[in-house]
């Protein structure tokens, strides 16, 4: 029997796309994006970036660098001055030394750093342990790098913290690394030093690497951020990923860095030089200025986020939604279980009925089901109005 022409064309199309790409689940927020585009008067708590624009002196410096003709490729690893400044910065903030020549690589955002790290260390079938829920790119990047993401469920009761015990249960002979990002997107969870110490100890015992995405590391409220690499014996075992997007409000510049031991940085640089060549020079120039003189703005933004955080969390709790106290990043992750809806249903109906956009927790993993991510990187006025609308919505839909 001959297949019909339509099924034939379907088959043909499919054969062009690699299995691992075809089998990647589509982004959980795409549908909402399309819905949103057609609506007006929407307050969006669905963003994943600051509402501040990059501080003017940083933008101005980038403009100046363009005027001076800085438009060329840079060294694969990134401009020496930027690596030196980063080395000083990491020493100053975390007391850790990275050799700017051999142990720091400038990347196109943390996104590229993550991809490079995974591709540099994974052989096909290697397993990477990831908390669930987590940032949407983690499992996808592991898969694309030929690895297998292994999820460790985290729960609200435990403040969405991953623990050494939970990790230990998932370790197999194929486990290569643990990948997490704290402060966390989507939960705002911060891992305490003691817990990180236990995880570090486990990593050393079982010879695992830790890929630590610390892009929200500067955005913590009333607690300290612990840089994993600073823990005793962990520098060579940690691939530290960080960037300028969140702390300096520089998301669109796509500029970040990776720091680790020589061998790993050299391996990542090898991939980077063939696939990316270098990060854009104007972004690197802007990053130099950010490191040199951006501290004041970072502090001011952190203060403002903290005010908004308190308003958001209290508001959500006043509505009757249980919401654990986020101590970092700029997200609250309330439970919406009292409505009896799935998180996707909640997000969709909230958007249609009250024009407030949130991201369903299920987009971040199975354990995000029953929660929604509310970003408070938006003006206090908007947060307050969004909370009023959410209150109406939740009270209308309380589970009978």
């Amino acid at each position: 029997m001959h297949p019909s022409s339509s099924s034939q064309s379907k088959t043909t199309t499919h054969t062009h796309i690699a299995d691992k790409v075809r089998n990647l689940p589509p982004s959980g927020i795409r549908k909402f994006f399309d819905l949103l585009a057609s609506m007006e008067n929407v307050i969006s708590l669905g963003v994943g970036e600051p509402d501040f624009v990059t501080p003017w002196h940083i933008r101005e410096y980038a403009i100046y660098s363009l005027e001076k003709g800085y438009t060329m490729y840079t060294s694969n690893k990134g401009m020496p001055e930027l690596r030196r400044e980063l080395s000083k910065y990491l020493q100053y903030h975390y007391g850790i030394e990275y050799d700017p020549e051999e142990e720091i690589l400038i990347t196109v955002g943390v996104s590229e750093g993550l991809d490079l790290a995974l591709r540099a260390i994974l052989n096909p079938g290697d397993e990477v342990i990831i908390p669930d829920p987590c940032y949407v790119a983690y499992p996808a990047c592991v898969t694309l790098a030929g690895g297998i993401p292994v999820h460790v469920p985290t729960t609200e009761e435990n403040g969405f913290r991953i623990t050494a015990d939970d990790i230990a249960q998932q370790i197999t002979p194929r486990t290569k690394a643990i990948l997490f990002g704290y402060p966390a997107n989507p939960t705002g969870t911060v891992l305490a030093r003691e817990e990180l110490l236990r995880i570090a100890e486990l990593a050393m015992q079982r010879n695992l690497l830790i890929i630590s995405d610390e892009v929200y590391g500067r955005l913590v409220y009333g607690v300290e951020h612990t840089c994993v690499a600073t823990l005793s014996g962990m520098k060579e075992r940690t691939i530290l990923l960080n960037g300028f997007s969140k702390a300096y409000a520089m998301t669109g510049w796509r500029i970040g860095y990776a720091a680790s031991g020589r061998e790993i940085v050299a391996a990542m640089t090898k991939i980077h030089q063939y696939t990316m060549l270098c990060a854009p020079i104007m972004s690197q120039m802007a990053a130099i200025e950010a490191l040199k003189t951006g501290e004041k703005e970072v502090a001011a933004m952190v203060e403002e986020y903290d005010r908004r955080r308190r308003v958001m969390v209290k508001g959500l709790r006043d509505i009757g939604l249980s919401c654990f106290e986020p101590q970092g990043a700029f997200y609250a992750f309330p439970s919406i279980k009292i409505t009896g809806m799935t998180s996707e249903e909640f997000a969709e109906r909230l958007l249609m009925e009250e024009h407030v956009a949130v991201v369903p927790g299920s987009a971040f993993g199975a354990n995000g089901e029953g929660y929604v991510r509310c970003c408070y990187a938006t003006s206090l006025k908007e947060i307050e109005e969004a909370l009023r609308r959410m209150e109406r919505f939740v009270h209308r839909h309380l589970k009978k």
């Binding site: 982004s27 927020i29 909402f32 994006f33 949103l36 585009a37 929407v42 969006s44 669905g46 963003v47 994943g48 970036e49 509402d51 624009v53 940032y135 949407v136 790119a137 997107n185 203060e303 005010r307 908004r308 308190r310 308003v311 209290k314 956009a357 991201v359 987009a363 206090l380």
Partner: protein
């Protein structure tokens, strides 16, 4: 001052209409303590007053502002303070600063018309005994006031939904 208490003033400086309850939520300081701090600050003039920044041009209200440089002769014992006091009593003088450089006092003057400002400068300010001379700069356009950009700000450029 405690870092936390300072947050109360920062919040109020950004938005004077915040209630003690809202400030309490934003800072995590109990509402009674917020009220107490504000009351004390009002009494000891740490908080001078609550005001609103208005873009009068939008109301079609004409206002003429001028920055007047004033060169004065300081007086024995009281330096610049006595002459500054004579000047700041005039309601037309909205702000008065002692400045370093080629002149001594910077006076921000407001009137309904250019003529009103000119009359104030020529008939009240310039003739004061200690005043050696004045230079009046009329303000042609206000771009930014009290940290607020008055016009030309652009809307959000963020995508409404990002992971």
């Amino acid at each position: 001052m405690k870092q936390g208490v300072k947050q109360i003033f920062k919040a109020l400086e950004a938005d004077a209409r915040l209630t003690p309850e809202q400030i309490s939520t934003m800072t995590g300081i109990p509402v009674d303590e917020v009220k107490e701090v504000i009351k004390k600050a009002e009494e000891d003039k740490t908080i001078l007053k609550y005001k609103t920044v208005i873009n009068w041009a939008k109301l079609g209200e004409d206002q003429v502002w001028a920055l007047v440089e004033v060169k004065v002769t300081p007086q024995r014992n009281v330096g610049f303070d006595a002459i500054a006091e004579r000047i700041y009593q005039f309601p037309e003088a909205r702000s008065v600063y002692l400045a370093s450089g080629t002149y001594d006092l910077a006076v921000l003057v407001v009137g309904r018309t250019m003529q009103e400002v000119a009359i104030f400068v020529s008939e009240k300010l310039a003739p004061l005994e200690a005043v050696q001379g004045t230079v009046t700069h009329f303000i042609l356009k206000k771009y930014k006031e009290d940290g607020e950009i008055l016009e030309g700000g652009e809307g959000a450029k963020r995508l409404p939904l990002t992971p």
